[in-house]
Symmetry: C2
Subunit: 435 residues, 2 copies
């Protein structure tokens, strides 16, 4: 299929082609109230301004709901449901088509173009949702296996439950930040000598600060408390997907996590990309995930075999010397469980969901070291330094390191469905004095 | 000190004496918008109506902020900070004193009394806060020890980290419900034969449904991401305390919790009492918690020795036959860590807090079986049935069982500072069909 052409200039290789139309929340220096927009090429299309200037005049479905575009989050838009998201995305595409059936809306409306199409370099992208609850899963089986080998050896690398349910934990919603937010190295308790008879922790800045290369999925549906979302309906409750970096303090985690799981090791910051790629836009890129050789219980069985995404992910490290190295390239299909399975499992107890709730996939790693999505795997928990360009080395993150995650679907340079970037730079730990 | 007398009739033994003045969110059949109120004796004082009728005319501090009483949650009132909560509580007390300095505000204002003082039996009490994030700790050392003995034996009952940090996990904010909400027994994966070589889970209604007797503390302060709340400032960030029942599916938990902690076992429902007792009202009941024989790191060291509360807690089971048995009586001082310590630990990484965030204490158990705050401890994980009145027995909860938690400070029947009740009744699991 030939890519869709636009009358509007979209650079070759843009993540935000006409095939994409991701949603986000923006503000500008001259208009500081956050509101809803889509990204197209190097621009944001401000949907509050677009709606106020009769941009949706040809789309009667959305007219009663246009106030959602003036909201400071996507929660209200998401709550309208996937059929509406689909119609709005297709309409915006059609307005941008070279041969648009609605030329007067934007193509021939220079005044509205000037008001509503804002260069991305001139906008501030906010957290796209007001996140009610955030759950992080562990569905990247290679990552789970690799970490299991590091901590327990290859015999018991995967726990007995791993292939029967999507293992996950509740995260800290307040700690999710948009791409670009600086990440302060956390302080906490670490055990410098784990093999000593007497376990005495030390207070210290984290010495094993790590990344986790993940996808995040935002929920648009809701379920009453006590009523599960069936697996066959789960996908209809997913709004869209972002890139996620679940910053992790490995040494804090090792000491704290028994028996109730990771806590302070995870709650200081999780970064997400700011443009949410709609589930509809990802539909053509659905593929089969990792093979599960266990007999999965019926409530987790999907009718559709293709339920994860073919997204090419990569991770760059830019050190304070200015050198940048791509340390990982991995495909997002390296998941044992899909987002619909995670949602079906999460709600099987009746756990209630609301629009804006966030699911993290868990770290995505491939089978080889260059496909690992965390430093702990690449450096074998600090034993084998990762070699960067110009001879720099890393076992874990150093102050000043900047991590950039990118993800993109497809290889037609005129029809990419990409996520943009998910960036965070490490700031030194606070120096704390206790008297 | 003689108890404070009111011109308004407050029944002897009321949890809501003049010494208390707890805050909540109410609505009535004739006025269905949830708004802020305090409880006094058998009545709620509707603060929206009180404010609209010049009730706060003598309190200039609160006048610019009176809109907070029309909010459907306490978040905005809480965000005003403890000095304001203190002034408002004292002012309401003074309006209700027998010798009130403001007799025209309410004492001599029959019309306002009629509008603003509503019998508790005529109100619906809502969730008092819009909860951003909910964290559940594990600070009840006797409970931690008892569960450790059940699962690992007495040698390793407490993990090495237990006395060094308040162990906790992030909970599911959306699952917190107000007292009285029915609790549906969850379905999920359980391992019927844990000792079998091959671990194959079964899909089943939970067979080990349990309670956890806890306190919850609501946060009123906030901290910027990356900046801890120092231990000496932690208490000023606590709004007040509620009773909490953290319903737990022990069999689901046993199978799922390695390595990332409890998840579905906890996310179906947590019940809280609806009247939040202000930290100020609890001040006279501060006592020393359990002795910690470990050397605690400086960031967790409290200046004040008395940092937990002397609250007499009890748990009733009412079965579907109508019989009620008090199965547990325990004092809330059975905690190794205080709420200020929990908050200092939670934020030491820079984890951001917002008004309305909720901290659970963890299950509070005393040293003897009649003081245990969960069925798993009382029944030794199902081995020793708990004997109820009329010869009924329980190992875990059965459908139709109703649990009522009560808590009260003090023993002067005219000056009790109580929490009211935290009630939930078990409904049968949903029957789910999978094709």
């Amino acid at each position: 299929m030939a890519p869709l052409r636009s009358w509007f200039s979209i650079p070759q290789g843009s993540h935000f082609s006409l095939a994409n139309i991701p949603f986000g929340v923006i503000s500008t220096a001259s208009s500081t109230s956050p509101r809803v927009a889509v990204a197209i090429g190097d621009h944001a299309l401000d949907l509050e301004v677009f709606a106020a200037n009769n941009g949706f005049s040809a789309l009667s479905t959305i007219q009663p709901h246009q106030a959602v575009f003036s909201e400071p989050s996507l929660n209200a838009f998401a709550a309208l449901g996937r059929p509406i998201h689909s119609v709005v995305r297709k309409y915006i595409q059609s307005v941008l088509f070279a041969q648009t059936p609605y030329p007067d809306v934007l193509k021939n409306n220079a005044s509205l173009q000037k008001q509503a199409l804002i260069p991305l370099k001139d906008i501030k992208a906010h957290l796209p949702f007001r996140i009610g609850d955030y759950t992080d899963f562990f569905a990247g089986m290679n990552h789970a296996y690799n970490c299991g080998v590091i901590f327990r050896g290859p015999q018991n690398a995967l726990q007995p439950n791993y292939k029967h349910l999507p293992v996950g934990y509740h995260g800290r919603a307040s700690s999710v930040v948009p791409s670009g937010t600086p990440i302060r190295r956390p302080n906490g308790q670490i055990l410098l000598n784990p093999t000593a008879e007497k376990k005495t922790p030390t207070f210290s800045p984290c010495k094993k600060l790590d990344i986790e290369l993940e996808l995040g999925a935002f929920v648009c549906g809701s379920n009453p408390q006590g009523e599960p979302i069936p697996i066959d309906e789960a996908e209809q409750n997913l709004f869209g997907v972002v890139l996620m970096n679940d910053w992790s303090a490995r040494d804090i985690q090792a000491w704290e996590y028994v028996p109730l799981g990771p806590f302070n090791a995870k709650n200081f910051s999780t970064t997400i990309s700011t443009w949410v790629v709609l589930a509809d836009a990802l539909e053509p890129f659905k593929v089969k995930g990792l093979e599960n050789d266990a007999e999965v219980l019926p409530y987790l069985k999907e009718k559709e075999e293709k339920s994860v995404y073919d997204i090419n992910l990569e991770v760059d490290v830019k050190t304070s010397t200015g050198n940048t190295t791509t340390i990982s390239k991995v495909n997002a299909q390296n998941l044992l469980w899909s987002f619909p399975q995670m949602l079906a499992h999460h709600t099987i107890t009746g756990c209630p969901f609301n629009p804006g709730d966030l699911l993290g996939s868990g770290t995505i790693s491939g089978a080889t070291a260059k496909e690992y999505g965390s430093f702990i795997e690449q450096s074998q928990n600090g034993k084998e330094p990762i070699v960067l360009s110009e001879g720099e080395k890393r076992t874990f993150l150093e102050d000043g390191d900047e991590i950039t995650i990118r993800g993109v679907c497809g290889n037609d340079e005129e029809a990419l469905v990409g996520f943009g970037e998910c960036v965070g730079r490490i700031e030194p730990a606070l120096k704390l004095n206790f008297n």
